[in-house]
């Protein structure tokens, strides 16, 4: 099962690499929180890193009862660059500025931008990204919510690359721990919200910042 998901992620990775002409920012979004954006973002980042790409994973979190916040951003070993400006402004221009910096350093920047319907900053990230992947939990996703997301993406002029359907079992397995999915991730919590915790380690393992572009 673990090998299967890696193979399936490699298919998605190949499509992303083919669509990107250079260093690119890929936003992964979905209409619902549980549609598997975290799984897809991590899996895609892992898959890209496994083939030697310099990858940065940016994770976001939205809690319905509070304003949107960037919860964890860690770039490289030194923790640069800081995205505090982006965190504070939630603006499209700030996202573009940050993404420009990311493109300078990484071949691929994978942004987990879930729930753009409820988050203005998530929508800004999606709009500023070079490519957008939409995660849909097949058999569970709601038509109405996905219609709204499609409309929001059109209004944000997002460059949608395509849709990745996510199997619910894989989401659960991913949420339960990286040892079951063979993904080198340590979310730290059984609940899907644990993915919002800060990373202890950088995503980019095999590609030092600035030296592994492409």
């Amino acid at each position: 099962m673990g090998q299967d998901i890696i193979e399936r992620l490699s298919v998605t990775r190949t499509r992303v690499e083919a669509a990107a002409s250079g260093p690119a920012v890929v936003a992964v979004t979905s209409a619902r929180r549980t549609d598997g954006t975290g799984l897809l973002a991590h899996g895609l980042a892992q898959s890209l890193a496994s083939v030697g790409r310099g990858v940065l994973l940016v994770r976001s979190d939205v809690k319905p009862a509070s304003e949107q916040r960037w919860r964890s951003i860690r770039v490289g070993k030194s923790g640069e660059p800081s995205l505090l400006d982006l965190v504070d402004s939630y603006s499209f221009d700030a996202a573009q500025t940050a993404f420009a910096e990311f493109r300078q350093r990484y071949a691929f920047t994978i942004v987990d931008a879930a729930l753009p319907l409820r988050s203005g900053s998530a929508l800004s990230l999606v709009g500023a990204a070079d490519l957008v992947l939409i995660a849909v939990e097949q058999g569970r996703a709601s038509r109405e919510e996905d219609k709204e997301l499609a409309s929001a993406l059109r209004s944000a002029r997002a460059k949608t690359l395509g849709v990745v359907t996510i199997d619910r079992k894989e989401i659960r397995r991913f949420a339960c721990g990286p040892q079951q999915t063979r993904l080198p991730l340590r979310p730290g919590r059984a609940d899907i919200d644990v993915l919002f915790d800060p990373f202890d380690e950088p995503i980019v393992r095999n590609a030092p910042v600035g030296s592994r572009l492409g």
């Binding site: 998605t12 799984l39 949608t160 395509g162 849709v163 990745v164």
Partner: protein, 445 residues
């Protein structure tokens, strides 16, 4: 692609589809019982006429158009009559729902179809409706003729009244102006005037002649011979004069005797002569008095006076006649002057009367024609029963009915599957995802 989509929906909703299908199949005997066959009986009406049923029936110039035949058959009056004929207790509205009358634009045949669960009821009612429709058609046709006849009769009376009124006005006009009342008023007045002129000329001539005769008689009385005779007749008839004349004659004779026997010296001669002279004077005076005071004593004079009076009367009569003719001539001239005014009125009245008379004659002809048409319509109706229904047949054959039930069950199951699919808000297929976002699916995790 659509077939694939249909299969996909059925497969995704296979439990709903199968469940509904099983339930429907279990209930199919109930459906078959509910869907009891309906029987149809058809009777056919036909109408005489050319063209389609939308044309008017041409026979007898009937007023009721054939296009009304279906409506007539569906009317409450006809259905009620048929209901009574067939002893059916259902209401008229229910029966109307159970029947249909079809009209073909290319046929003169109008079928009446009655549907019922009871075949005998359908049969009886179809035939009763056909008979009732024909009877009602005939009744309406005659009734329409009656209405038309009444209308024409009213028009005849109106025109007759109009003629009478015009005649009265014309009569008054003629009475007021006899000449202008005539059709050839100008000629009549002119001729009448000429006659009056001639009569006046004749009368005036007579008057002149009679006046001349009267004058002549007046002059004749002044003549010596006739006056002497009248005087003698007066004196002869006057006794005083005769007595005096006799005495005077006797004394004159005695005087003559004395004078013959004696000389002038005879003493009694002078006295006698004086006596005779006095007597003669008295006699002359008596003669004058008699002539003056007693002209009637002369027959000639009396006749003369009478003649004079007659001539004067004749002349007066002539004069009066001339005056009367003058008055008539003046009246005729006045009528001639009034001719343009009264004549035009009379001409208008006469023209109106002629027009009314012509209209009356036309109405009379139409009236007679309508009477004849009604008699013919009563004898032969334009609509008749072409064919009575002799059997009632199931409207839908059993095999077709069973097939329809099976199709219904299948459609119910498929519809349920599609309904479940439509009511499911979740995204279940990649096609749904691609349709929603307008982007391809590039992977599966």
């Amino acid at each position: 692609m659509k077939v694939f989509g249909f299969g996909r929906v059925i497969w995704q909703r296979r439990f709903v589809f199968g469940g509904v299908l099983l339930i429907a199949l279990a209930c199919s005997p109930l459906f078959a019982k509910i869907a009891r066959p309906t029987y149809e009986a058809t009777s056919e009406l036909a109408y005489v006429g050319s063209g389609s049923a939308s044309n008017a029936i041409s026979l007898n110039n009937a007023i009721l158009p054939a296009s009304d035949l279906p409506d007539l058959a569906m009317s409450s009056e006809v259905i009620d009559r048929a209901r009574k004929l067939s002893n059916i207790d259902e209401s008229v509205d229910d029966l109307r729902l159970a029947m249909s009358v079809k009209e073909s634009p290319h046929s003169n045949v109008v079928p009446i179809v009655v549907r019922s669960k009871d075949p005998s009821e359908a049969l009886v009612l179809a035939n009763a409706l056909a008979d009732s429709t024909v009877d009602q058609y005939k009744s309406l046709a005659e009734r329409q003729y009656d209405n038309l006849i009444g209308s024409i009769r009213d028009q005849l009376e109106g025109v007759q009244s109009q003629i009478s009124g015009v005649d009265m006005l014309l009569q008054r006009s003629v009475q007021a102006h006899s000449a202008v009342g005539a059709a050839d008023a100008l000629d009549a007045i002119s001729k009448h005037l000429d006659d009056l002129e001639l009569q006046r000329a004749a009368a005036y001539a007579t008057y002149v002649a009679d006046s001349a005769a009267m004058s002549a008689q007046g002059g004749a009385s002044e003549g010596s011979g006739l006056a002497k005779a009248i005087r003698e007749q007066i004196l002869t008839a006057d006794p005083l004069y005769q007595s005096l004349a006799t005495t005077q004659s006797k004394d004159a004779a005695a005087l003559a005797t004395v004078k013959a026997g004696y000389t002038d010296a005879f003493p009694g001669l002078a006295g006698l002569e004086e006596k005779v002279r006095i007597e003669k004077t008295a006699t002359d005076q008596a003669a004058v008095t008699a002539v003056a005071e007693h002209p009637g004593n002369s027959a000639t004079y009396a006749q003369l006076v009478m003649s004079q009076h007659a001539a004067a009367a004749l002349a007066s009569g002539d004069k009066a006649r001339v005056s009367a003719l003058d008055q008539d001539i003046a009246t005729a001239h006045a009528a001639l002057d009034d001719l343009p005014r009264y004549g035009v009125t009379a001409d208008i009245l006469r023209a109106r009367r002629d027009s009314a008379t012509a209209a009356y004659q036309q109405l009379e002809i139409r009236y007679q024609q309508t009477l004849a048409d009604r008699a013919q319509a009563g004898a032969l109706s334009a609509a008749f029963v072409l064919d009575h229904a002799n059997a009632a047949y199931p409207r839908i054959p059993q095999l077709v009915l069973a097939t329809l039930i099976a199709l219904f069950v299948l459609a119910l199951a498929i519809g349920s599957a599609y309904l479940a699919e439509a009511l499911d808000p979740r995204i279940r297929t990649a096609v749904d995802v691609e349709d929603l976002y307008g982007a391809p699916r590039i992977g599966t995790v």
